[in-house]
Symmetry: C2
Subunit: 359 residues, 2 copies
Amino acid sequence: MVSDRGLDVLRVIVQDYVASREPVGSKSIVDRHAFGVSAATIRNDMALLEEEELIAAPHTSSGRIPTDKGYRVFVDHLADLRPLSSAQRQAIETFLGHAGDLDEVLARSVRLLSQLTHQVALVQYPSLSRARVRHVEFVLLSDPRGDPPRGTARPVALQPGTGTRILSVLITDSGGVEQRVIELPAHVDDAALGDIRARLNVAVVGLNMTEAAGALAGFAWLGSPELTPAVQLITAILGEQVAANRQDKLVMAGAANLVRTEEDFNGSVYPVLEAIEEQVVLLRLFGEMATDQHGVSVSIGRENAPFGLAETSVLTSGYTSHGNLARLGVLGPTRMDYSNNMAAVRAVARYLSRLLGEN
Amino acid sequence: MVSDRGLDVLRVIVQDYVASREPVGSKSIVDRHAFGVSAATIRNDMALLEEEELIAAPHTSSGRIPTDKGYRVFVDHLADLRPLSSAQRQAIETFLGHAGDLDEVLARSVRLLSQLTHQVALVQYPSLSRARVRHVEFVLLSDPRGDPPRGTARPVALQPGTGTRILSVLITDSGGVEQRVIELPAHVDDAALGDIRARLNVAVVGLNMTEAAGALAGFAWLGSPELTPAVQLITAILGEQVAANRQDKLVMAGAANLVRTEEDFNGSVYPVLEAIEEQVVLLRLFGEMATDQHGVSVSIGRENAPFGLAETSVLTSGYTSHGNLARLGVLGPTRMDYSNNMAAVRAVARYLSRLLGEN
DNA sequence: ATTGGCACTCACGAACTTAGAGTGCCAGTG
DNA sequence: CACTGGCACTCTAAGTTCGTGAGTGCCAAT
């Protein structure tokens, strides 16, 4: 029903509306684009597009704006993923050029993405499920100068009543570090802790997270029996650390951009900002988006209604860190520059995958 | 010049204006508060207050609103730090009741503070300058299954051309962990790395950050000479980690509240949000605020102009983590509930200090 | 020092007008 | 049959006018 020219008309309506934020009329279309037909003809095409609910009129006898469905067609069929400008390309190089720890790289990535797209950018931490345990470290946190001098004889293990705080550090081969402070039920000294560390390392180093969780659950303590309660607590918490999927965490940047585009949100950005701070919602949304490796998934307007984001669009792409999949993307008003933003999301995702090692 | 009653008038003007967001007139003052004098008398007092630039009229013959200077006098002399409600008190308990690692505790604190005050909350990471090195750990990051089997003989040290990635982890006694990925110029195996680790630990464990930086700078490598270049790189980067003051980091929550109070910002929250995302600015501001231990410092309106925050007020308080000082606070429009917010900031700072150990 | 009275000011909202962009439809044309 | 020019109609956005009421400043009286 909708002719080829009709789709062209839809394309320019989307482009002009995104650029100007003003309803697009038949006249302005023939003025700005060389269609070679008259305004009346464009009007006929527009009537057809309206019948298909691809465009709508905010008020009777005003120009037309794209509907969610219109954006959908645009994204699926009409958007040319224009390659990044050389300036943008260079921005990626200089921004992500040098390595650093995981936190730092992701923080830089999210800032970069927000600058490239002028939208809110989001980067999810990679899952650790496929990462392997490299090392487990325990560190006494109580003041060392409070301990008796080295030479003094003292019990190796527990002194009931006086607890000890230790730091438990889990190091994986994907460059991530999980740390946790543990309040032990009784006193544990350096030697005892070293014993525990040695035995636990033997038990879990080299296993991936899933296997390590199993190994910890079934861990049998064969050392000094007085230490049993402390070891039980330690293995339990270490188990939590192993299970603590980093994927439940994400970093954000560019919230100011939401305010900049405030008029696109029917007046009130407040609920959107709230939903964004409530990371749980976004993580669910990320989880439900298609998980194609390098293509860009787009969720438009009302498609996000279950997440309280009915007026926003979300573009995401997957990236990999040592074989672990995660997502990154941008979020903004449905009226956004899809072509540019999809290209930027894809470019950053690819670059990040390369930087973190595809494995 | 300004009588006692005059100050009372200032107080109710601040209170009423904060509550209603409307210029306060002499009539409404006598209506709502039992001053025992007539509106004309209040008008005389208000004329005096205006002469002192403590209040101002948005338009001729409308009510008056407090100036920055008026808020200043209110905060310094008139605000009663009303104790927290029992509900608020309980919120602190349940929110911060259980321990966790530093990141987690600070994340919870900042959310709590934003909920208690309905403003943007900020928590700065504690400085590490007084923390002591507990342990230094290096972990090989290259795929272990790519290495030859254990028994195989191979050179202990360098294989030029094939670099090795290692993770360097610095653990301090304040519960913080600094990590960094290092790209070594040549191949280093497990045994060599163990040697480096052992010698470096002897050199720096127990030193505070300043001392450790010195020790690293003057570190003389007495092990296998082939390792010298690798060790030089490692000590250099470890030196950076030691110097990397965590205090250059802060967490934020409640940005949505800025939007909620948008009308207080002369229409545009955008520059404010931008300044907030640019953490550097806030860290400078934090740095310049008085560092009294437990009192609350307040910086009002134009006092923040150098930071691009001329229409906001910032309330901060210091807290300590193992003897390391840092700040936390809230940021919002000058029209805010100072009494409640100062009390909340102080309460959370105190609670956090207790939780993290005063040392 | 405080008060009641009074003239004056000014922002705000309601009601009204106007301009202009845009539409829908129809009869005409190649 | 696809396209076009013309025309009547619609509706928003912006500007104008005007009345209302809260609030002020000042002054003479207590």
